[in-house]
């Protein structure tokens, strides 16, 4: 039982337990300690691309979602400097795509928007890129609007790891990086995706939308009208959701 006692780390002074094999993010979420994140979803393998969960261990900056928890780690997460950096990263994601919250049907359910609220983001700060990115409206039930994609890779992982369909991938380098569909035409309609798939519903932003249900829940009664992203972030788990089904 000695090892159980030894398996603790500290985040912002709070001592939390972990089991070997867990990441810092796993341990934090299990202890109901929130570290901001967009590309992480418990139950899917971690990716580490959004970098919002950067924490500091000594003078090292690491992404909590991909860094193994280790005994006696002294971790800093909720600091003014790190939150300022998270804010700037969120602003970067905003200017990279076209995030027009007032006219986006994901508004209120959007994690990027919720993260902006959570971090107190009042403007985009950086000049917008206005990139041209393709829209794929070919599928009868699902719309893919790449202009709103933040390249978090969640749909890619959900499709391959949970749906078992491998519908999505990311192609291209730098700001040319974009979501592609694994079908001969490159269109969603020629892929095996269904609107009940996790890949079709996991999109944190308005890039993958289920058609004909955009305004079923009125603005004001949506997820992040009721809760902060911190609260939802502590509850999420794919295996739990699938069990509930």
């Amino acid at each position: 039982m000695m090892s159980v006692i030894e398996n603790t780390l500290r985040i912002d002074g709070q001592e939390i337990p972990f089991t070997p094999g867990q990441t810092i993010m796993d341990a934090a979420l299990a202890a109901k300690l929130y570290i901001p994140h967009l590309c992480h979803y418990p139950g899917l393998s971690p990716s580490g691309n959004c970098r919002l969960c950067i924490v500091e261990i000594g003078n090292r900056s690491v992404a909590a979602c991909i860094t193994p928890a280790a005994a006696s780690q002294e971790i800093h997460s909720n600091t003014p400097e790190l939150n300022q950096a998270r804010k700037a990263l969120t602003q970067m994601l905003f200017v990279e795509g076209d995030h027009i919250c007032p006219s986006c049907e994901k508004t209120g359910n959007c994690k990027l928007q919720a993260m902006a609220y959570y971090l107190g983001l009042l403007d985009d700060h950086f000049p917008p890129f206005y990139q041209r990115r393709e829209i794929d409206a070919s599928h009868p039930d699902i719309l893919l609007d790449r202009r709103r994609c933040i390249l978090c890779d969640l749909c890619v992982r959900a499709s391959s790891e949970v749906d078992g369909k491998n519908v999505f991938a990311i192609a291209g380098r730098g700001t040319q990086a974009h979501l592609i569909v694994n079908s001969p035409s490159g269109k969603l309609v020629d892929s095996p995706i269904a609107k009940t798939d996790l890949a079709a519903t996991i999109c944190p932003v308005g890039a993958i939308l289920i058609k004909e249900q955009g305004y079923q829940i009125p603005i004001g009664q949506r997820i992040y009208d009721q809760q902060t992203i911190r609260e939802t972030g502590l509850q999420e788990n794919i295996t739990k959701q699938h069990d509930e089904k």
């Binding site: 970098r51 700037a88 990279e96 933040i150 380098r173 730098g174 040319q176 990086a177 569909v181």
Partner: protein, 587 residues
Amino acid sequence: MKNSCQHSSLHLPQEHFLHRLHALQQEFLHISPQAMQQVATEFNLPLSQVAAVVAFYSFFSTQPCGRFHILFSNCTSCGYLSDEQNLMQLLSQQLHATPGQTRADGLVSIDETSCIGLCNQGASLLVNGIPLTHLSPDKIAQIAQRITAHIPTAEWPVEWFEINDTIYQRNLLLTAPLVPYDALQKAIIHGAAETLAIIQQSGLNGRGGAGFNTGQKWQLCREAPGDTHYVVCNADEGEPGTFKDRVLLRDHAEALFEGMSVCAFVIGAKKGFVYLRAEYRYLQSHLQAVLARRRTQGLLGRHILNHLDFHFDIDIVVGAGAYICGEESALIESLEGKPGIPRIRPPFPVTHGYLGQPTVVNNVETLIAAAHIVEHGSGWFNSVGTEKSKGTKILSVSGDCQLPGIYEYPFGVRIQRILDDCGAQNVQAVQIGGPAGKLINVTEFDRTISFEDISTGGSFLVFGQPRDLLTIHRNFAHFFAHESCGFCAPCRVGTQLLKNNLDKIAEGRGTTYDIEELKQLSSLIQHHSHCGLGHTAANHVMDSLQHFPQAFTAHLKQHFTAQFDLDQALKNARQITHRDDAAAHLD
């Protein structure tokens, strides 16, 4: 270590995936959706993986290139901007072509590419993959004539394609003789454990820049459990300003393969790879010839030097144009036929590398040094250098100096000594380790090349007083924005913002506010990125803000300036409305 004795090429199809794509690109001048579908079937891969690979690498295209495909280097040393002349523009004008596009008749396409490692050869380009050096306006005109006349490159003057490298300073590695098989024979006599001890005693650190201890790397890999082990030579020399590996691959391939074989013997590998950058594809046949010779001499293959249990062979895998593949885990991804996106580490390649097996990835120079160390002893090696930096470093010196070329010095050499040797006068700044390295000014020329002071993978760029440093910074920023793999947000977006910000200052739209922006942005990219590319992409800006603030401030406006050109922003609107009258302009 218990490895099965069978040859381990079972994992691979007959031809490497990247080579198959290259063959299609060669034949059809692009890779069509149909071709991608066909390759996906051949290799039993998802179509999306094929498409992702084609989109990732610069040397693959989905639109047809010209029959003469010309890529100008855009490096500060071998780039197309020579003596205020824009050679790419010159050729484009003479051929009525637009850079980045293929001419309507399909004859020619002209574009730029990241440094092609010909920095001591003057302005250079690749024509259908073959390097053409010492460009001048006169030569550009002759090239244009030949292309217009449809004269194949094989009939162009042979001397245009000659590459002569001068080695101005020789030390341990470039003077000591190395007879093929001597080092390997010694390794076998010593046994694997003793050979590893020799490498460890030598104090050899990796020559790629990061400087990890080679003996320790080999030991970790040797001890790591796995079905098989691999040794990979990182010949993806992509740091702008570096060309020493090109020279080593050409003149010291035998020593390189000897070093790889010694490593294989120590770690128990049966298979090795040289990952050669696509820009050096023309070296492949030479390397293959050396490999073939070694096979006939019993230095590769089964029962090497009649040793019962030593079976090892080497394949050459040619990349397809991506700087990021110099990062060892991205290189392994590329070897596995994927986009070169750096992996999550840990686990490290020494335990989980190529195909998940323990893998040593070493730089060309490191492996050559290892061969020499086994041949001549650890004392021969570590008697030279400094306390923490044993042996010598081979530098690629270029830029504003009289004698650009190869220089080998013991570690600890002073910067001023190198500048004196290469005939650099009136020096403003030196960029050591390439754009990802360190920019220093005159007050630091007493510092030394070593792991404890200024470390470099080999790039040594000299900038004289007349150079506009902001132009250099823009060049570097464009390079990183182009080469960012796009995986993580701070690097993908941040390098683009940094580039835009420097462009804005150069266009005369910068204000004091932008200096603070550069600082914030640089720090964010440095601390929050996923891999070394992001960690180092803003170094040059941060160094300059410290040592050469005037490089930026000299261009700033004192009063409020619009972030963008308002009149230019109306261009689309004017096109749509077919208007170009005075009222449709703002100025």
